[in-house]
């Protein structure tokens, strides 16, 4: 059975993508999935090369036959979202695609057509195959696109007989987050020791418990506030979620992002050591082979010495 690790955070900006990317550099055999379809970022640090792009359709949009329209105003009156005026889609962004206008137009002047809501993509990266997506601007339905990305990642993992999918989840606790974590093997909650971080983590715990998904916690920037870090540790204990990592504040996360690398490729020994321990703990909870994570320091040295070119 393919295991699915979802990296989540009650909200954005906690370092979820950076830490997730670092784990992808350590895990030996996996597929990557970026379910933050609103603002997919993982591809920016794993060096992606696009291989496939598929249109994603979801929902419907009304199209009006101007010649047939009688300008009777019925659609205007019935539309609850103020999106149409006498046969003119005046506020397309407000349209929910419900079809009330089309079904009730006396002249049958409106038809509902499939709406292109974005694309899902497959890319080759330094750390394995990545399934990601781009949701169209201002489009709803991100939950469905998240499910599509997960489905594609899963079928590819099965086809290649890979034991693990590492998913960068969407922030928040709304529909995309729900779509990303239901049925996952483990959620790794990346949080930071701020008041808002604690608050968001509580909501994430609630969501994970609600859907019966096991959750572990990684505290990023743990040294910024000792007091809040202790509060997170206590909260996690109450919620029976093991704290598997405490990552110190480090500007190298920014540096890594700027150079398009994961921190495993640029970070200090102290930081990469901490993340390596994090991965070993996560792999243990998942019951997957941690791979050469322990030997990563050596591998990195070989990389530095120019060994990368010689490796398959």
């Amino acid at each position: 059975m393919v295991k699915e690790l979802v990296i989540a955070s009650g909200k954005g900006g906690t370092g979820k993508t950076s830490i997730g990317a670092a784990l992808t550099a350590l895990a030996p055999a996996k597929i990557l999935a970026d379910c933050d379809v609103d603002a997919a970022n993982l591809h920016l640090v794993v060096g992606s090369r696009l291989k496939e792009a598929h249109d994603f359709f979801a929902g419907f949009a009304p199209v009006v036959d101007e010649e047939a329209c009688l300008h009777c105003g019925r659609c205007t009156n019935l539309c609850r979202f103020d999106a149409i005026e006498d046969g003119v889609i005046s506020r397309p962004l407000a349209c929910e695609g419900c079809g009330v206008c089309a079904f009730n137009c006396p002249a049958h002047a409106i038809s509902m057509v499939d709406k292109k809501a974005g694309q899902w993509l497959v890319s080759e990266t330094r750390h394995g195959l990545l399934v990601h997506a781009e949701l169209g601007l201002a489009v709803d339905n991100s939950g469905k696109l998240v499910s599509e990305v997960r489905r594609q990642a899963k079928s590819r993992a099965e086809k290649r007989r890979l034991p693990l999918i590492i998913t960068d989840g969407p922030p928040g606790v709304g529909c995309p987050a729900i779509a990303a974590l239901t049925g996952a093997s483990l959620v790794l909650a990346v949080t930071e020791p701020s008041l808002s971080g604690i608050h968001d983590l509580e909501r994430l715990f609630f969501l994970c418990h609600h859907f019966g998904v096991p959750v572990a916690v990684c505290i990023n920037k743990a040294d910024i506030s000792e007091e809040n870090t202790r509060a997170i540790v206590a909260l996690s204990r109450r919620e029976r979620a093991p704290v598997v990592g405490e990552i110190p504040y480090d500007d190298v996360f920014r540096e890594a992002a700027l150079t398009g690398c994961t921190v495993m490729e640029t970070g200090s020994a102290a930081l990469t050591g901490e993340i390596r321990r994090l991965w070993l703990a996560v792999a243990g909870l998942l019951g997957v082979e941690p791979g050469k994570a322990a030997a990563w320091g050596l591998e990195r040295l070989i990389d530095r010495l120019g060994g990368r070119r010689g490796m398959p």
Binding site: D38, A39, L44, V100, A138, G172, V173, I224, A257
Partner: protein, 284 residues
């Protein structure tokens, strides 16, 4: 003026900017529209004064009249209805409240009832900016649709004050619901490739909604990341209105729930520029 504060992604400092702006001008109202994870109240510790449950209308079926013909089910484009054992069954989390099934039923068996999706509260701050008025929404956990709550909340806002909307991150439905109708949109970004990528998306939505927008670079360090953001802004005719420095000290203060006085000067300058932009646009 209704000023919305948005960013493609979370954690860029939207809430910080909203609080800084509110602190430097009296009489503003902060509306925390990030209803999935509202944060402003954590910094303001408001004394809550009113609480309103928000709801959406969902269909209700009168089984004495319904004969299970299934027309309502065929009608619903959101798959929120199914027929089970000859009676219609609603999946409320999928319902958009369009009223279509009501219109479709030949036997007048459908009426509507309210389903609660969250709450919004108004209050007055006791911490950091004492007296600051705040309205803050909170979506019930497990409820997927944030947009209706945001819309209901925005309808309650007074017309005669400067309103600062702390918007949800992203560039999809809930962000659109929050930003729509504002006079100016301030896009807060970080000088990293992540920040720039998400800024492009958020700017795209402001553009589609025809809302004038400008950029605040938070955690600016004058380095390569700043150059990339500034280059993008220059190429797309978007003005960089302010830069807030990257500082570990500030991050620590933020973590403890404090806003720092030294940033007020930056906020004053930002207001002056926003006022000028706003006047220029409403005159022209």
């Amino acid at each position: 003026m209704i000023l919305s504060i948005a960013s493609g992604k979370g954690g860029t400092g939207k809430t910080t900017v909203a609080l800084l702006l509110a602190a430097s001008r009296e009489g503003t109202i902060i509306a925390d529209c990030d209803v999935e994870a509202p944060n402003c109240h954590l910094f303001l510790r408001p004394k809550w004064e009113t609480e309103t449950r928000a709801g959406v209308m969902v269909p209700r079926f009168d089984m004495d009249k319904c004969d299970g013909c299934g027309r309502c089910v065929q009608y619903c484009l959101f798959n929120a209805l199914a027929v089970a054992g000859g009676t219609p069954l609603l999946f409320p989390e999928l319902c958009h409240g369009c009223g279509g099934c009501l219109l479709a039923c030949p036997r007048e068996a459908v009426s509507e009832e309210r389903r609660e999706i969250g709450v919004f509260r108004t209050g007055v701050a006791t911490m950091n900016i004492p007296g600051q008025r705040l309205i803050s929404g909170l979506l019930d956990v497990g409820t997927p649709a944030a947009a209706p709550l945001i819309k209901t909340m925005k309808k309650q806002l007074p017309h005669d004050a400067d309103i600062i909307l702390d918007c949800p991150p992203g560039a999809s439905c809930s962000m659109v619901a929050a930003v729509a109708g504002s006079d100016y949109c301030l896009l807060v970004t970080e000088p990293t490739p992540f920040g720039l990528h998400d800024l492009e998306l958020a700017a795209g939505v402001s553009g589609m909604l025809a809302i004038p927008h400008g950029v605040v670079i938070n955690k600016s360090d004058g380095g390569r990341g700043d150059e990339a953001v500034e280059g993008w802004c220059a190429a797309h005719g978007v003005e960089v209105l302010a830069r807030l420095p990257n500082s570990r000290e500030f991050a620590a203060k933020y973590a403890a729930g404090m806003i720092d006085g030294e940033y007020r000067e930056a906020a004053d300058t930002l207001w002056r520029r926003l006022d000028r932009e706003y006047r220029r646009r409403s005159d022209g």
